[in-house]
Symmetry: C2
Subunit: 433 residues, 2 copies
């Protein structure tokens, strides 16, 4: 049996998938017990050399000719973006094709619509490469951990941010200089906003939440904070307290609500997530049966992303070769309207806080009293020396670690501390895991 | 649609699977889009309380009544061992049932026979929990990385050994005292041989090799060395050189042959595998597309193992609900007779060597010359102080790190060094990754 694959989009990932399918065809087909053949690749530009030797007649500028080809059963959408990619995915579904995509932005925005269309048409939409690149986290959540209640997921899901944070910590560099360097070295885009403001991570968090809890989190319910305003001072103070700072997506069930947020977070140095350096990504999942599971690898790039796309193609090929009439690895979205995103103020966590306070007797008593009034219990409070270049007259930095406290209580305490005049500038606060 | 599950063996894992299936049934069935019902559990002892409230009529002492039940499509073999478990698996396959098992010893010994029978009967045999307990490594190798040529796999696959090694390193304890403590605390069996001599790890390595390379490695071709003879001295010297010692299974392709071995190995402190502490397990896979991927979690225990068994049950249930005539997630074993295990002497690696040499001028020259003669190139050679209690008169310990060298060349060099009288006792050597 031969199963035909069509690719839409011959960019970095499309070329990687084509290359992998051609290069490893024999091993791949042996493992599946069925032959998978790359039939067609559509792109507006079919003249630029992508370093892949495609068989004659494979390239076309007409995406619809790929979608309508009766010898193609699986369409890989690797165009990206939320425009034409959506149209092509829906056309492919309507034509009875199974779809593989790496398009996180589109699925985060229109996933419910796309999965509903696929369900009606009896085809599958696989999207492994849309979260974590080469890391098999989508597959593991959907299948391996299917029997678990997922208690929480913590993910380092953006290589650009993790690269910047790693260098800020190792070399004591400020954010702006590190970003500029990352751009020069090709680890950050010319316009880095999607990465550094946390939205790339947030799109992935939406997909992980849908796998864990069966509904799509609306964009308006997301709390997203990037690393653009992260101070080098806090990176160094965190280090002294035994933490490193990571941009973490957290998806968790707390009581009857779901927490989904993205923000800079302090991770204890001994934690597996603290070992994730540079452009690598990792996801820690805690299932009620499995306990902690960590999945680590390259979260982006031509070949790692292609690895996952091809894995998805293989799974669909196995389904087709098995002769099934319908395929059942689409995700469950039946909790829409039943589960909801928790009010951020009601989320409990430990916190790191930096206060720039007056260097005078009674200061600890003043902010300590205000924290206490708002039910924020202090675990440690330490005045630290200024780092070079950060000095302010008659002011000292004090770093506080709290016991678990409600985020709403913390906000109220920090507002009162600011109003009270005990601090010289706005307090900094970050979650600790 | 309702899919019936029968369990054979109501021990630790069987009880965990029953508990998980009953407890999380609603979430599990929603995710699958089909209802999975635990129908029967067979065990010779059905009176002991396992802490699971099973519905009336579920328990039976007659395994064949489970296998023959027309309402059961999936049989989970959780008896273990290579005796009756094999008979029941083959009977279940013959009765047209899909099988899920966690039985690594049986599959390492009779996997080829069992998969052949399953292929003929058109049923699947899933065995996710036989390697890595709660870690989804089998699924990821079989499916997620199906499009990759697997270059190598390094696995910490035995929690007992990793627990002992972690404590030996942290507390500078000798092996025997740590083992006794592990037994007292329930982390090691009364007869710990299968774990500490490396054979439990080796069974798992055989299964990982079959997934990566498509053939079952015969037991006679395995090189297995456990941690029973590991000296606390080497743990501490390794630490000084910036390594920790782990019992690693390595499965790799080197040229035209496959390397499969299990032995104590030095891992650089910054490597993700070095962060794996205590009873946790982890597997690092390097695919030609994916690059390095690490999977980490609990490698044993009632609930983590149940998590993976239930994940496998879910996957089969999806296949059945999809209406397929044949199922295609069995592993490919078509390379039997085509690929073979490489001669150990031909394997290239860096090495750690400890020599107890005469404290006299010219010693470095003598062993250095012999290494050179056998093409073993030294990267560092350092004489280290004795650790307390290890002193020998007129002798000093010298620790050598080599550049990549052939294992056969190293053995020849060490033999000559021993014969030459330059050492006072047998040299110790371990692989470095």
């Amino acid at each position: 049996m031969k199963i035909g694959v069509g690719i839409l989009g011959f960019g970095t990932v499309g070329a990687g998938v084509a290359d992998g399918l051609l290069r490893n065809r024999e091993t791949f087909s042996q493992r599946l017990g069925t032959d998978v053949e790359l039939k067609k690749i559509a792109d507006l530009d079919i003249t630029t050399d992508r370093g892949v030797k495609t068989p004659d007649g494979t390239l076309t500028t007409d995406a619809m000719s790929v979608i309508r080809d009766p010898e193609i059963q699986i369409v890989a959408e690797l165009i990206g973006g939320t425009g034409i990619a959506k149209k092509f995915i829906l056309e492919a579904i309507a034509a009875g094709k199974h779809v593989v995509t790496a398009n996180k932005a589109l699925l985060a925005e229109s996933g419910a619509e796309i999965f509903e269309a696929a369900g009606k048409a009896g085809v599958d939409v696989y999207f492994g490469a849309s979260v974590g690149g080469g890391i098999p986290v989508v597959r593991v959540l959907r299948e391996g951990l299917a029997g678990n209640e997922i208690e929480r997921i913590d993910g380092i899901l953006n290589g650009t941010c993790n690269y910047i944070l790693t260098r800020m910590a190792r070399e004591k560099l400020p954010f702006s200089a590190t970003l500029a360097d990352a751009q020069r070295l090709g680890y950050a885009e010319a316009d880095p906003s999607l990465d550094i403001d946390g939205w790339d991570t947030a799109h992935k968090a939406v997909l992980l939440a849908s796998l864990a809890y069966g509904f799509f989190v609306p964009k308006s319910a997301l709390r997203v904070e990037g690393i653009r305003n992260l101070s080098a001072v806090d990176v160094q103070y965190a280090d002294r307290l035994g933490y490193c700072i990571k941009l973490l997506a957290r998806i968790a069930r707390q009581g009857d609500g779901i927490e989904v947020d993205v923000r800079p977070t302090l991770v204890p140095a001994g934690h597996m997530l603290a070992s994730v350096q540079g452009v690598f990504n990792a996801v820690m999942v805690h299932g009620d049966l499995s306990g902690d599971i960590l999945l680590y690898g390259k979260g982006a790039g031509r070949e790692p992303t292609a690895s996952t796309v091809i894995g998805d193609i293989g799974d669909i090929a196995r389904n087709i070769a098995g002769g099934g009439a319908r395929y059942r690895r689409a995700i469950y979205t039946g909790n829409a309207g039943k589960l909801s995103v928790k009010d951020p103020g009601g989320i409990k966590s430990e916190f790191y806080i930096r206060l720039m306070v007056a260097d005078a007797p009674g200061t600890f008593g003043r902010f300590g009293t205000i924290f206490g009034k708002h039910n924020v219990s202090i675990r440690t409070a330490t005045s630290l020396p200024f780092l070079r270049g950060e000095e302010m007259d008659e002011t000292i930095p004090v770093v506080v670690e709290t016991h678990p406290a409600l985020s709403g209580d913390l906000s109220a305490a920090l507002e009162e501390i600011e109003r009270s005049g005990v601090v010289r500038c706005k307090p900094v606060s970050m979650r600790i895991i």
